[in-house]
């Protein structure tokens, strides 16, 4: 396993995601929510969190099960995923073909002062995803792997998990809505009409 952390999330996350309009996106708290809110200008196809740590993957799974006709992307961080890493096992038994998970792994808890996370100390979330029976898993840590990752998120026939290893450069600044009720209503209106 490589320990390279040379990619900057501000360029690597948009490059891996590609056109965000291809997905319904659930974002884990802090950095991942800022990455995607910035990329989409806080769009109505994303639901971002600033709490409920450990819930992003399960929320994306519920959405993917509800809407097999749509591609669902979970974008979250290493710390958020570690808080409920068992959810990977629940994804692994179901293997929804329309669910992809992008874990932006900077090895640190950026929101609380950049304390090291377990992934900085040898824990490999890609191996945990593999061991959880998720069919397609990759670690991406260099520019030349990014186009493959972008394709996997879209085309994988079975749930996929991408571990994107990045340096500790901060996420982009974005003023996003913290009103979860307003964002829920906007998301549902965009997806379901006035249902």
């Amino acid at each position: 396993m490589s320990n390279t952390r040379s990619l900057d999330r501000k360029s690597a996350v948009p490059a891996v995601v590609g056109n965000p309009d291809d997905f319904l996106i659930i974002c884990g708290l802090a950095g991942a929510s800022k990455d995607i809110a910035h990329l989409t200008n806080d769009g109505d196809n994303i639901f971002t969190m600033a709490g409920a740590m450990g819930g992003a993957t399960a929320m994306g799974l519920g959405l993917a099960l509800s809407r097999p006709d749509k591609k669902v992307l979970v974008v979250t961080g290493d710390g958020e995923l570690l808080m409920n890493v068992g959810t990977l096992a629940t994804v692994g038994i179901l293997k929804p073909a329309n669910l992809s998970i992008l874990c932006v792994d900077n090895g640190h808890y950026g929101e609380t002062g950049y304390q090291e996370s377990h992934t900085q100390r040898g824990v490999d979330l890609n191996l945990i995803a593999q061991g959880s029976a998720i069919p397609i898993t990759r670690t991406i840590d260099s520019e030349d792997q990014i186009s493959e990752a972008r394709q996997l998120l879209r085309d994988s026939n079975g749930a996929s998990f991408i571990l994107l290893r990045v340096n500790t450069e901060p996420p982009p600044s974005i003023k996003r809505s913290m009103d979860a009720t307003e964002r829920k209503i906007a998301f549902r209106k965009a997806l379901l009409g006035n249902a």
């Binding site: 709490g51 409920a52 799974l61 519920g62 959405l63 629940t90």
Partner: protein
């Protein structure tokens, strides 16, 4: 040896029919003896999604995600599972997500396992502290009416509701 615990099949099958007639399609659960009939009905039903969880809090977030997609859901758990969900309930409160959980109670009427008692006592104050409604069913007759009330409060008034299937109803688990 078979026991009567959790095995009151008539009202549990009626409860499953009620959930289905209300278009509940996603059943999330951590395996539980008191919910055995409901869980098995959901596994056998090709028209629903029956999802075992590694921890109950996954189900809270999963039900919220399903609502974003337009699917009604229910989380089945035991009283001890409520303790695993507390921070995730914040998602429901902030987002005013409709949510129904059916909780089989341990640690109250006639409990013989002391390890069940703390969460048995904690369930109602905890869910109410997190902004949820707590409705108790004490008799088989109350199960359907209480669950229907919970579904209406959730899906017509955007409330989070815990339905407690009390230990008086399901019986104390024999050891």
């Amino acid at each position: 040896m078979t026991s009567e615990y959790g095995g009151q099949e008539t009202w549990q099958k009626d409860l499953y029919k009620l959930l289905r007639s209300n278009e509940v399609k996603l059943f999330c659960y951590v395996p539980d003896g008191g919910h055995k009939t409901l869980i098995n009905e959901s596994i056998a039903d090709p028209k629903v999604l029956s999802v075992p969880l590694t921890t109950e809090e996954e189900g809270v977030a999963m039900c919220a995600g399903a609502h974003l997609g337009g699917t009604k859901s229910v989380l089945l758990m035991q009283s001890s599972g409520v303790g695993n969900c507390v921070n995730m309930f914040a998602l429901l409160k902030n987002g005013q997500f409709p949510f129904v959980t059916i909780v089989t109670m341990r640690g109250e009427f006639g409990e013989m396992n002391p390890w069940q008692v703390p969460m048995g006592q904690g369930v109602q104050p905890i869910v109410e502290a997190m902004g949820m409604h707590c409705l108790r069913a004490e008799t088989p007759e109350e199960v359907s009416t209480t669950t229907q009330a919970a579904l209406d409060m959730a899906y017509k008034s955007n409330q989070s509701v815990a339905v407690l299937l009390t230990q008086k109803l399901i019986g104390a688990k024999p050891f």
